[in-house]
């Protein structure tokens, strides 16, 4: 018996896992930040499904807005590519 919540959680957790792996393995750091933001968006949907609207309200601005902005400032001022 599959409820829609469980199916959606499965989808979003899978998206988060894939994009977390892509973010860690990506050599171009700006792309890594974007992948990390996608992973965070998937987690935001997961939090909504888990019955936590408070966490969604704090999580979306923090991890989709502020972290990428700060990291992009850092990357623009330092190095853009990670050497293997």
């Amino acid at each position: 018996m599959i409820t829609p919540e469980l199916a959606l959680m499965l989808i979003f957790v899978s998206i988060a896992f894939v994009f977390a792996y892509l973010a860690v393995e990506e050599r171009k750091l700006i792309r890594a930040v974007v992948y990390s933001a996608v992973q965070s968006a998937a987690f935001a949907f997961l939090f909504y499904l888990l019955g936590a609207p408070d966490i969604v309200l704090v999580y979306v601005p923090v991890t989709v807005g502020i972290y990428p902005a700060a990291l992009l400032f850092l990357i623009r001022k330092t190095e853009e590519v990670e050497n293997p």
Binding site: T3, V13, V24, Q39, P53, F73, T78, E79
Partner: protein, 125 residues
């Protein structure tokens, strides 16, 4: 016969563990400081998600905000508010600490001219 519901539940928990492991792998194995910071945010987010998942009530958890339904129904179906309260502060404080780490990385780049930890390790003085 495999119970599909148990499979999905186990998959969700294990995928979260796997994501935490990916974040930890990035923190340990990747040489670039910016990549370490990105991995650290992934690790922190995943641990927070696991904490929220611990407080989830299945089937049919509703958010812990009282909206005027019968009290027994609310207490009997709302999810656990305590992990949410802890994670709420953890996210904001974690963001402040991570921004401090970003500032320190920026200062490191100004002083050493690189953020590659292998190169920083070789520099002396």
């Amino acid at each position: 016969m495999i119970d599909i519901e148990v499979f999905i539940k186990t998959f969700i928990v294990l995928a979260l563990f796997g994501t935490a492991g990916v974040g930890l792998y990035g923190v340990i194995a990747k040489p670039h400081a910016t990549k370490k910071i990105i991995s650290l945010t992934i690790l922190g987010d995943t641990v927070n998600a696991l904490a929220i998942l611990l407080g989830y009530r299945y089937p049919g958890g509703i958010p812990p905000v009282y909206t005027g339904q019968p009290p027994n129904e609310f207490v009997g179906s709302a999810v656990d508010p305590l992990p949410q309260a802890l994670v709420l502060t953890a996210i904001v404080i974690g963001m402040a600490v991570n921004l401090l780490i970003i500032y320190i990385a920026l200062q490191t780049y100004r002083l050493y001219g690189t953020l590659d930890t292998r190169l920083i390790k070789k520099l002396r003085g």
